[in-house]
């Protein structure tokens, strides 16, 4: 059965303008691919349009979008077809992301194993605490701390512990 659209274009535009940057970055951090990150971002906002969840506030709304984006990207990553396609598309992708390609430091971040990339992004860029990330990703807080610690080590990040400990 086709779902009825729960939110109007105006509503979705407003939400999109508030969170598109974050959601796209979450998708990119997971998928490392411009085309797929765009597709995933669109899908997340379409899900929001169709499912019509109600939110307590903007933060709740943002958290929902991040979790949905993460789940959708995980699904995409699991798909055998994507794994095969991404290998074949590597050369295309390099052309699509010139700016990113020439940035060695960004390359380092994107070269981190998947499980470290998202916590690093959510903690350092979005400013979420380890507890908030743990709640959002349904992973135990000590695990998040360990992942941040290992991620920092791998990046040779010259900063101390988590900011919100």
């Amino acid at each position: 059965m086709e779902d009825a659209l729960q939110r109007t274009g105006k509503d979705i535009t407003h939400i999109y303008n508030s969170h598109a940057d974050t959601i796209y970055k979450v998708c990119f951090m997971m998928l490392k691919n411009v085309v797929d990150a765009e597709e995933a971002t669109q899908t997340v906002f379409l899900k929001l349009m169709r499912s019509g969840p109600t939110f307590r506030d903007t933060e709740h709304e943002k958290a929902w979008l991040i979790v949905t984006a993460r789940n959708h990207c995980k699904n995409m990553l699991r798909h055998w077809w994507r794994r095969l396609r991404v290998t074949l598309e590597e050369s295309d992708q390099k052309q699509l992301s010139e700016e990113i390609r020439h940035d060695d430091l960004l390359d380092e971040v994107l070269s981190l194993p998947e499980k470290y990339r998202l916590p690093i992004y959510l903690h350092y860029y979005e400013g979420y605490s380890t507890k908030e990330i743990a709640d959002m990703l349904s992973i135990k807080e000590p695990t998040i701390r360990t992942r941040l610690h290992t991620g920092r080590k791998l990046l040779k990040l010259s900063i101390g512990g988590e900011r919100y400990e």
């Binding site: 951090m29 765009e38 906002f45 969840p53 979790v67 055998w80 396609r85 350092y124 860029y125 010259s158």
Partner: protein, 319 residues
């Protein structure tokens, strides 16, 4: 690298203004639903995949022959007619209200699909030889009178469509689904439990419903089904899910405390709906409470194996 450099690099990830406009316009026009034109690399991949599939088609039968433990798919197809689409028709308003619509047959309790809506069985109209009996005991009235007649455990007792005729439904194990004809219209009932309230083993349910063969995808949703959290659509994932569910133990000797725990989990949003969407367009609702390590289908409650909780822990969380 220091934190400032890290943040500066991440801000470069995009999206650019142009990208944002492009994505928004696709979202608003729902163009994202349409498939993009095939890219060069995809065009290269398609023949490669075609060859791979062909090779697999040639190689797999050899493996199946070599391993006697794997059942022959051909034999299954011979005894099980192909699946078909059952399309619910609009339900008359007069029947859309009232208690749970169910019937008893052969010691099992069945509930009416789609809350008792009739189905279009034009291509699968039951034959006279498929007749299994007539619904003759008014379970609804008996329940209203405190169950004095004991119809709750009696075959052919029903809360709905009294006088209807039960038929075997072609393509399904009668232990899972049956058809009911009433005033020229057909209805479908689905196994929900046993009339003696004992729990149907998970493996038996999965086998009767042919979950591994018929399930097309599994939607993980919040308890009410209003928010989709995850979808399993790969055959491998679906089979793994069903395989692990089939190993569940039956939750016997349920006491009031267990029921209260279950209800509490539901009210606190710790219960999730896993909608098993079948190839015939219908669905089976499975409720999962990860915190309790339990699941329910119909009237049956199960203790999930630890492997299930470990494998799917990250699927169950409300945003």
């Amino acid at each position: 690298m220091n934190e400032k450099e890290l943040i500066a690099r991440m801000s470069k990830l995009g999206p650019s203004k142009k990208q944002k406009e492009r994505m928004l316009s696709r979202i608003l026009s729902q163009e994202a639903r349409k498939k993009p034109p095939l890219r060069r690399s995809v065009k290269i991949a398609i023949p490669a995949i075609g060859c791979a599939v062909l090779s697999m088609a040639l190689v797999f039968p050899v493996f199946f022959k070599a391993d006697p433990a794997i059942p022959s798919l051909t034999a299954l197809q011979q005894v099980q007619p192909t699946t078909f689409t059952v399309t619910p028709r609009s339900m008359p308003l007069s029947v859309s209200l009232g208690p749970l619509k169910m019937l008893n047959y052969n010691g099992y309790r069945y509930t009416f699909l789609n809350d008792g809506a009739p189905f279009d069985l034009t291509d699968r109209t039951p034959r006279a030889g498929d007749k299994l009996g007539t619904l003759q005991y008014d379970l609804k009235s008996d329940m209203e009178n405190g169950g004095k007649n004991g119809y709750a455990v009696l075959d052919y007792a029903t809360t709905y469509l009294l006088g209807g005729t039960i038929y075997q439904l072609q393509g399904y194990d009668p232990a899972f689904r049956l058809a009911v004809e009433h005033e020229g219209r057909y209805y479908i009932v689905q196994l929900s439990g046993r009339t003696d309230n004992s729990v149907i083993p998970a493996g038996d349910y999965a086998e009767a419903a042919e979950l591994a063969r018929l399930t097309k995808e599994i939607d993980i949703m919040n308890h009410s089904g209003s928010v989709q959290l995850h979808v399993l659509h790969r055959k491998k994932d679906i089979r793994e899910w069903i395989g692990m569910f089939s190993q569940s133990e039956t939750a016997v000797n349920r006491d009031r405390e267990a029921d209260e725990q279950w209800a509490k989990a539901q009210s606190e949003g710790k219960s999730y709906l896993a909608k098993l969407r079948l190839k015939d367009g219908t669905a089976i609702d499975m409720f999962v409470v990860p915190e309790l390590g339990m699941a329910a289908i119909g009237d049956n409650r199960y203790i999930l194996p630890e492997s299930f909780s470990e494998a799917y822990a990250d699927l169950f969380h409300n945003p």
